[in-house]
């Protein structure tokens, strides 16, 4: 069974909502569209208070440099354009829309009919990328990197393999799993579109073995319609966290290692796209539908009905929780995303964003960290680290403020997967410290870079 080679852990899977079909969440009364739902520069609002918007109306155009536009997922009137608290815990510019009815822009095809490559005729690669960019699509696994940029390999590199990330290695989350079961053909068309866009003959779908139904469904489908979907292969992977990390997935599927930053996956010929992104690409290219809704898992051991929702972006989390049976009484921690890499939220007012893959409600007793005891040098963090780093060493260097030592020990390669802190028998906050070091060292490197440019 294929998997990545260095490190990794296996947290309890807890995929409580794996058998729950995707439900469409109700349209909220008020939707909040953060202008900062992606990595890079924030979008620039183009609407003002009182403007009428429809589903699919542009709210914010892409900012300078790395950025994507933001669209309305509801119809109604703009209440205000103001800074609001978002899932990152800071105030950022957002457009708030009071919902009235559900009117869609005419350009969007709302039918469920499958559109294949044949139906699209001779669509050019450029057109595919342009439609993806115009739809504001970002990586929907959580990294929220603008997809359009990823599909334009820099000169000198060539895509040799598209890898579809259907691993969903985070415990609890089932959004991607359900998507594959319910929209398999749309995903395959989406993959064809990506292959077409970057002119790459081969695509792999990496799925972990804890989703045997999805593996079977897609494998059978590909066998049945081999002529229609050539060059796509399902790769079953051993269950191991963090297999959904870009570098780990490339290692697992095609056995290539991405060098340390600033190297990108494309430097080894790979483009990784989350399966949710692939579906969004399908909808954007074939149905002209911008990224206005996504699938989000609302789960937790005490949640009455753990569910997978198709929710409009901008829906307040509170509403989704109400639809999943209300906030359990013993909630101690609210996590946007999965338990390994998600963010603890302070408020349920924060809206669903492009990168919200899940909402996890943890009971109070399981949300507190254990008592910290001294490092016993068992080196479990070293064997767990998927990047081959030495977390205990980096954490000690951070405590001693030895930033040179951190840099020499490749702190910048850390992918913040949390395997080290997960595995530490002494409950040491290894990743907390490494994050501090990573931030500082990145700052030092940047300053050095600027100095060099000045000279």
């Amino acid at each position: 069974m294929k998997t990545f080679h260095i490190g990794g852990v296996h947290p309890a899977e807890n995929k409580l909502s794996a058998a729950e079909p995707i439900r469409t969440a109700a349209i909220p009364k008020q939707a909040v569209f953060s202008m900062f739902q992606h990595i890079g520069a924030p979008a620039v609002p183009v609407v003002k208070k009182g403007d009428e918007v429809k589903v699919g109306t542009l709210l914010g155009e892409a900012g300078k440099g790395l950025s994507v536009p933001v669209f309305s997922s509801v119809s109604g009137k703009v209440n205000k354009v103001d800074a609001v608290l978002d899932s990152s815990g800071t105030r950022r510019m957002a457009v708030i829309v009071d919902v009235e009815g559900d009117e869609w822009e005419d350009s969007i095809d709302r039918s469920d009919k499958l559109v294949t490559m044949k139906d699209l005729g001779g669509i050019t690669a450029e057109e595919v990328v342009n439609r993806i960019k115009a739809a504001g699509i970002v990586g929907m696994g959580g990294a929220t990197f603008p997809t359009g940029i990823k599909l334009m390999p820099p000169p000198g590199t060539k895509a040799e393999a598209i890898i579809v990330n259907a691993v969903e290695c985070e415990p609890y989350l089932t959004a991607d799993h359900r998507l594959m079961l319910e929209k398999p053909e749309q995903i395959l068309v989406g993959i064809q579109l990506i292959k077409h866009a970057v002119n790459c003959p081969k695509a792999y779908i990496g799925i972990e073995m804890n989703k045997p139904d999805a593996i079977k469904l897609l494998t059978d489908l590909l066998k049945e319609k081999a002529a229609q979907y050539p060059g796509i292969e399902v790769v079953p992977l051993k269950v191991k966290y963090p297999q959904g990390g870009e570098k780990q997935l490339i290692d697992a599927v095609i056995g290539r290692q991405v060098p340390a930053p600033p190297a990108l996956p494309i430097n080894v010929g790979a483009i990784v796209q989350n399966v949710g992104t692939v579906y969004a690409i399908y909808e954007a290219v074939t149905k002209h539908k911008p990224l206005i809704e996504r699938i989000i898992t609302v789960t937790g051991k005490s949640v009455k009905n753990p569910s997978n929702f198709l929710a409009r972006i901008g829906t307040p989390m509170q509403q989704l929780i109400d639809e999943a049976g209300g906030l359990p009484e013993d909630t101690g921690k609210i996590i946007g995303g999965g338990p390994m890499m998600g963010r603890a939220l302070m408020s349920l007012e924060v809206p669903v964003t492009k990168g919200s893959s899940g909402l996890l409600l943890m009971a109070e007793k399981e949300s507190r960290r254990g008592e910290v005891s001294p490092c016993i040098r068992c080196a479990k963090c070293v064997s767990a680290c998927p990047m081959g780093l030495e977390p205990y060493l980096l954490a000690s260097y951070t405590r001693l403020k030895d930033w040179d030592g951190c840099e020499k020990n490749d702190v910048t390669s850390c992918i913040e997967c949390g395997s080290c802190a997960f595995t530490c028998p002494s409950n040491r906050p290894l990743l907390d410290n490494i994050r501090v070091a990573k931030q500082t060292v990145m700052g030092i490197i940047k300053a050095r870079h600027m100095e060099a440019i000045k000279k």
Partner: protein
């Protein structure tokens, strides 16, 4: 006899060879060091405290010589030796010492446990920098003190301490050397190195919140809401409001304390003034509490939140 002679000759010649090697090695690998560095180092206190921001006194001496070559000693100060030492250094380097007014670290946040409700509970490595990565942290204020004491850990002089009742750090004016280590350690840049002022008296806006007034008020009851009242009342144009935050220029401030009275949020506080005349009725508890508290920089005058909080806790 013979044995002794041989021993002397052998050992002597080894010593001679070694001496020769050392001699040539010293010549060959001699490191040329500006002799002024040594001279400067001699007048420095030699505590190697790092308070100046350089690795030890030799590092500071090197920096002084380098700065002198560029033409100015500005920005270099040995916080331990202070002005007298800097004058000596300037003498050696043939420069004029900049007359630097004594400065002190000021924590520009007054969001105590009472005035700024905690809306979340932080769990993790006890470090402000870690908590700062979680957005606004335990309170709703994105600019306020996080209370984990990174500044306390950074202080070499034991001049800054956490006040557990307030949840805020307190600076000991006597011990503070204004080296700026705490200011650099604070991830939110709350600590300002500020002019100490006449007789240690200062009027400071104890807030760092750059949000709009309504949001600030929701997060904290003593936050600056940028109402401009202080700007209007100030006769010396010492107060400016930028990015929804008032700032008092210590050089222009004449310590009239008008703004302190005017501030509707109690965000402006005066330090080390004698208690106000009965004209303004100060509740009896405030001065009592401030005289009890550790620091001599407790605000006096208005019934400020920390003092009230401390007195409650003591009662």
């Amino acid at each position: 006899m013979n044995v002794i002679l041989i021993a002397v000759i052998v050992l002597g010649s080894i010593g001679l060879v070694a001496a020769l090697i050392l001699f040539f090695a010293a010549k060959k690998f001699a490191v040329h060091e500006d002799e002024r560095i040594g001279q400067v180092q001699e007048v420095l206190p030699g505590a190697n405290c790092g308070g100046c921001g350089f690795p030890g006194c030799s590092g500071f001496a090197g920096a002084c010589v380098k700065a002198a070559d560029k033409g100015s000693l500005e920005g270099l100060l040995c916080p331990v030796g202070g002005q007298p030492v800097m004058e000596k250094v300037a003498d050696i380097l043939g420069m004029k010492a900049e007359a630097s007014a004594p400065k002190v670290a000021v924590v520009r946040c007054n969001g105590t446990c009472e005035s700024r409700p905690r809306i979340a509970e932080f769990d993790g490595a006890q470090s402000c920098r870690v908590q700062n990565m979680l957005g606004s942290g335990e309170t709703a204020c994105v600019y306020g003190c996080l209370g984990c004491g990174d500044c306390v850990a950074a202080c070499q002089f034991d001049a800054i301490r956490m006040n557990p009742e307030m949840g805020l750090p307190e600076v000991d004016d006597e011990k503070c050397t204004a080296c700026g280590a705490c200011s650099k350690a604070c991830p939110r840049g709350i600590i300002e190195i500020r002019l100490k002022g006449l007789k240690n008296r200062r009027v400071v806006v104890l807030c760092n919140n750059k949000d709009k007034g309504a949001q600030t008020r929701k997060a904290c009851s003593v936050g600056c809401i940028a109402c401009q009242k202080c700007v209007k009342v100030c006769k010396f144009e010492a107060i400016t409001v930028e990015a929804n935050l008032a700032y008092i220029d210590a050089e222009k401030c004449k310590l009239c304390r008008k703004c302190e009275e005017e501030c509707p949020q109690n965000a402006i506080l005066a330090f080390n003034f004698p208690p106000r005349k009965p004209k303004v009725e100060a509740p009896a508890s405030a001065p009592v509490a401030s005289s009890d508290s550790v620091s001599d920089s407790s605000p006096v005058g208005k019934p400020a939140a920390p003092a009230a909080g401390a007195s409650q806790a003591q009662a």
